[in-house]
Symmetry: C2
C-alpha cells in the first residue's frame, strides 16, 4: 500500500469539505536506548515554519506523541482554511 | 494498525544496526485543486530545523514527493549516526 493511499484512507469520511488538511508524521528510531528524543522540540519549530506558508489556527492543531524504548512517533494534524477561504479573509 | 507499528514494520529488515533513523511524512490534502503546493519549500526549511538538533549527512537523506490532484505526500528519510557515533565524532 502506498503512502498516498494511507493518507487518502485516513481522511476519508471526515465531515468538513472546504478545508485543506496538513498531516505531519515524524518518526525517530533510535539505535541506542540512550538517544535523546528531540521530537517535541522539533514539532514546535516545524509548526513555526509552516506558519510562514499558511495561516494556522492553534485550535485546529492536534498533536499526538507515541514513545517507547527505541521509537518515537509524533503525529501533527492541522486543518487549514481552504484556498478560497484564505483569499476571502484578506 | 497504529502508526507505531507502521514505522516499526517499514524499518524491519534494514541492514545497518548502529544508526538512528528519522522519517518525516508530510501530507497536504487540498480542498481545492487550485491550492498551492508548498511541500517542496517546506521540506527544505524542515531539514534546516532538523540540522539544529542532529548532524545530517546530505548523502543519507532520501526525499520522495507524490502528488496528484488534491493530495501531495512528501516522504523524507534520514539516516543519522547513532548517539555513540555522534559522541565519538566530537
Amino acid at each position: 500500500m502506498s503512502l498516498m493511499n494511507l493518507f487518502r484512507r485516513s481522511s476519508a469520511g471526515s465531515a468538513t469539505a472546504a478545508r485543506d488538511r496538513l498531516q505531519i508524521l515524524l518518526a525517530h528510531e533510535r539505535a541506542s536506548i540512550n538517544g535523546a528524543d528531540f521530537l517535541p522540540q522539533l514539532q514546535r519549530e516545524i509548526l513555526e515554519v509552516i506558519r510562514k506558508y499558511v495561516q494556522v489556527d492553534d485550535q485546529r492543531v492536534q498533536v499526538k506523541l507515541d514513545s517507547d524504548k527505541n521509537l518515537s512517533v509524533l503525529e501533527v494534524n492541522i486543518e487549514l482554511p481552504a484556498v478560497t477561504d484564505r483569499r476571502a479573509a484578506r
